[in-house]
C-alpha cells in the first residue's frame, strides 16, 4: 500500500511539475537556510577545534594596552613587573601549570655549503615549550640551570639541522653552531634539543604557497635570560602566557587574572590589562554564531511556515481536482483511513522532495559560505537526517487537514462532482 501510495503521489506530482516546484519553494528555501547555517557553524566549530589543538586550550594570554593617547604608550612603556608574576603564582596555586614568556631578538643566518640558512632567535622561558606544545624529536630541553644563568644552549628545528649541518636530528644534539646575529656578530650556540618543523602546516597557516622549504626561517629558542642581553629594555614585559592546569575553567581564570593585574597596575597610568583565552574566544564566537543562527532560523521558520501553508493550499487544490477519483475509490471500498493516508503520503513526498533539494542547496551554500569565512567546509551529517525528518513532519502537519477533508467526502457528491 505504501508503495502504491508513493508511486501514485509521484505520478500526481509529476503531472503538474511547475505547480509542484512552486509549492516546494518555501520548503526548499527554509531547509536550505537551516542546512547552510548548520554547515557553516559546524565548519567553524571544527576549525576552532583544530586551532585549539595547535594553540593550546589551556593558554591564557595577558597583555596591557593604553586607553590614553598614543604618545603615552611611547613615552611611558608599560611592563608587567617580575614580582607581580611571582605574586600571581602565589595567588592562584594549583590553577597555573606554568608561565610562558618570549621575546624575539631578531634574525640570524648561517652559511653552509655556500647557501644561507635563515633563523629567528627567540628568548623563551621554560614554560614556552609547554604553552606552544613544542615537542622534541631528539635531545632534551634546556636545563633549568641554563635558564637561570643564561647560557647559549638552544633548541633548533629539524629543518635547520638538515640545512645547516646536513645531519640527522640525533647527530645534531650536542653539536655547536655559529650563528650570525644581525647587528651583534657571530655567536656560538650548543644544540640541546631538536623539534619537528611541519612545513606543510606552516604553508597552510601562513598561506604562502610560493615559499620554498630551503628558504623558510625557522625558530631557534634560547633561554630568556640570555636573550635579555640583546634587548633594549630587558626588564620590559609587555605580554606573557599563563598555562592553566588541566581541568581549570580558563574563561573564569582569565577573568580573575585580568582583575588581579588591573589591581596591580598603578592608577596614574592609563594602562589596562586584558586577558585572552582560547576558551573565551570560542565562547565569544559561539555567542555571535548563536545570534546568527537565531536570525537565520527565524527566516527559515517563516519560509517553512509559508512553505507548509503552500503545501496545504496545493493539497486542497489537488483534492478538489481529484474529487471524482476520491469518490470512485470510496465506491470501490477504500475506507476513510486509506484516503487519508494516500493524501498525507502525497504531502510528505512533496515536502521530502523539497527537503532533499533544500539539503543539496544548503550544503552547497554552506560550503561556499564556510570557504568565504576562511573555514574548511564540514557537513554536519545529523542536520541532513534532521532536515529529512522535519520535512516529513511538515508534510504530515500541513497535509493532515486536506487529507482528512478528502477522507470525509460524501462518496455520492464526490462521484457526481463536475
Amino acid at each position: 500500500m505504501l508503495l502504491e501510495n508513493t508511486s501514485l503521489a509521484l505520478a500526481s506530482l509529476q503531472s503538474n511539475k511547475l505547480r509542484t516546484m512552486l509549492t516546494m519553494l518555501g520548503i526548499i528555501i527554509g531547509i536550505a537556510a537551516v542546512i547552510a547555517i548548520v554547515t557553516i557553524g559546524n565548519s567553524m566549530t571544527r576549525s576552532m577545534q583544530e586551532m585549539m589543538a595547535s594553540f593550546g586550550v589551556n593558554n591564557i594570554d595577558l597583555y596591557a594596552f593604553s586607553e590614553g593617547e598614543a604618545e603615552e604608550e611611547q613615552t611611558q612603556p608599560f611592563s608587567f613587573k617580575q614580582e607581580w608574576l611571582e605574586d600571581m603564582l602565589e595567588e592562584f596555586p594549583g590553577e597555573i601549570k606554568t608561565v610562558s614568556v618570549d621575546s624575539s631578538i631578531g634574525s640570524a643566518t648561517l652559511e653552509h655549503n655556500g647557501k644561507t640558512v635563515n633563523t629567528d632567535v627567540i628568548g623563551v622561558s621554560a614554560g614556552y615549550l609547554v604553552a606552544k606544545d613544542v615537542e622534541l624529536i631528539a635531545g632534551k630541553s634546556i636545563s633549568s640551570m641554563a635558564y637561570s644563568i643564561g647560557t647559549w644552549d638552544c633548541i633548533v628545528s629539524d629543518l635547520f639541522v638538515e640545512l645547516a649541518l646536513g645531519v640527522s636530528p640525533e647527530q645534531a644534539v650536542g653539536k655547536s653552531v655559529e650563528l650570525n646575529l644581525s647587528g651583534s656578530g657571530l655567536q656560538e650556540l650548543h644544540i640541546s634539543g631538536v623539534y619537528h618543523f611541519d612545513f606543510d602546516s606552516w604553508v597552510m597557516n601562513y598561506g604562502d604557497r610560493t615559499a620554498k622549504r630551503e628558504e623558510v626561517s625557522t625558530e631557534v629558542y634560547i633561554p630568556y635570560r640570555t636573550a635579555q642581553e640583546f634587548m633594549d629594555a630587558p626588564d620590559e614585559l609587555s605580554y606573557f602566557t599563563v598555562v592553566a592546569t588541566e581541568g581549570t575553567d580558563t574563561t573564569d581564570l582569565a577573568e580573575r587574572l585580568m582583575k588581579f593585574f588591573n589591581d596591580k597596575i598603578p592608577d596614574e597610568t592609563h594602562y589596562t590589562c586584558e586577558s585572552y583565552s582560547m576558551q573565551s574566544m570560542i565562547d565569544e564566537n559561539n555567542k555571535s554564531m548563536g545570534q546568527m543562527t537565531l536570525a537565520i532560523s527565524l527566516i527559515a521558520g517563516i519560509a517553512l511556515l509559508v512553505g507548509g501553508i503552500g503545501v496545504m493550499n496545493i493539497m486542497m487544490v489537488s483534492i478538489t481536482e481529484r474529487t471524482r477519483e476520491i469518490g470512485t475509490r470510496k465506491a470501490l471500498g477504500a475506507p476513510n483511513s486509506a484516503i487519508r493516508i494516500q493524501f498525507i503520503t502525497e504531502a510528505i513526498i512533496l515536502c521530502l522532495i523539497g527537503g532533499v533539494i533544500g539539503i543539496v542547496l544548503g550544503i552547497i551554500f554552506g560550503m561556499i559560505g564556510s570557504k568565504l569565512m576562511g573555514y574548511n567546509g564540514e557537513i554536519a551529517v545529523w542536520s541532513i537526517f534532521f532536515a529529512m525528518g522535519f520535512s516529513m513532519l511538515i508534510g504530515v502537519f500541513f497535509g493532515y487537514y486536506p487529507a482528512n477533508k478528502a477522507a470525509k467526502m460524501d462518496p455520492i457528491l464526490a462521484l457526481s462532482y463536475e
Partner: protein, 235 residues
C-alpha cells in the same frame, strides 16, 4: 432469502430545510441471487438514488435494508466500505477509471483495499482484463483508451473481488449502440456463467427487455415489475 431486500425506503434530500425534497417514497424491493434486473424510468424518477442506496453509497432517511439477510441499515462508514469492497461491484456511465493509472493498476484497486498481496492481484487483474477482451491494452492509461475499452476495464475492476452483486448505472449510456451491445453481452455472460446478480439502470428499452426482470420507477415509486420479453435466463 433474498440477496437484496428493501423495505419502505424513504429518501429525502435537504431534510428539514426549506427545499426539502422527497425522492423515494417508501420503496420496497426483493432481488434474488443470480437475477439480472433492470431499472427503467424517466429522468429524475430516482433510479440513481435507489441504486446508491442498494450500493451502500448513500443512506435512506428511513426504511430497512437487508443484504444477504443481514440488516445493513445501521452500519458504520467503515463497515459499508468493507461491504462495498467485498460484495458490490460498480460500473458507472462515465467509467470513473482512475486517471494516469494503467488498466491493470485500475483493476487492482479494489484488491489493494482488500489487502490482497501485490503479485496475486496483478495476476488476477491480468486474468480479468483478458476475460473482458483487454489483453492487448493492459498497460494503457485511461487517457489512451476508447469509451468501450474504458467500460471493459471498469467491468473487470468491478469483478476484482468477485462480488455477489454488480450495479451498473447506465453503463452503455455514453457508448454507440454497437459498443453498447458488446458491453451488454459481457453482462449476460457474467450473469449466466458466473451467476452474478446484476442490477442495471438503462434508458434503452430494447436492452431492458433482454433482462430477466424489469422494474419501472416513477416519481420515487416502483410502478411496474415484470419479466423481460426477450430474457434468455434459465431462472
Amino acid at each position: 432469502m433474498s440477496l437484496i431486500r428493501l423495505e419502505n425506503i424513504i429518501k429525502k434530500y435537504h431534510e428539514g430545510e426549506e427545499n426539502e425534497l422527497e425522492v423515494l417514497h417508501g420503496v420496497g424491493l426483493n432481488i434474488e441471487e443470480g437475477e439480472f434486473v433492470s431499472i427503467v424510468g424517466e429522468s429524475g424518477s430516482g433510479k440513481s438514488t435507489l441504486m446508491n442506496i442498494i450500493g451502500l453509497l448513500d443512506r435512506p432517511n428511513s426504511g430497512s435494508y437487508f443484504l444477504n439477510g443481514q440488516d445493513v441499515s445501521e452500519t458504520t462508514d467503515n463497515e459499508r466500505s468493507r461491504i462495498r469492497n467485498q460484495q458490490i461491484g460498480f460500473v458507472f456511465q462515465t467509467y470513473n477509471l482512475i486517471p494516469r493509472t494503467t488498466a491493470v493498476s485500475n483493476v487492482e484497486v479494489p484488491m489493494m483495499y482488500a489487502g490482497v498481496p501485490k503479485r496475486e492481484r496483478t495476476e488476477r487483474a491480468q486474468w480479468l482484463l483478458e476475460r473482458v477482451g483487454m489483453k492487448e491494452r493492459m498497460q494503457h492509461r485511461p487517457e489512451e483508451l476508447s469509451g468501450g475499452q474504458k467500460q471493459r476495464v471498469a467491468i473487470a475492476r468491478a469483478m476484482a473481488n468477485s462480488p455477489a452483486i454488480l450495479l451498473a448505472d447506465e453503463p452503455t449510456g455514453a457508448l454507440d449502440s454497437q459498443t453498447g451491445r458488446s458491453i451488454m453481452d459481457l453482462f449476460h455472460e457474467l450473469n449466466e456463467k458466473e451467476h452474478r446478480t446484476i442490477v442495471l439502470i438503462t434508458h434503452s428499452l430494447p436492452l431492458s427487455e433482454e433482462t430477466q426482470r424489469i422494474l419501472t420507477l416513477m416519481d420515487g415509486r416502483i410502478i411496474g415489475d415484470r419479466k423481460g420479453k426477450y430474457a434468455s435466463g434459465k431462472h
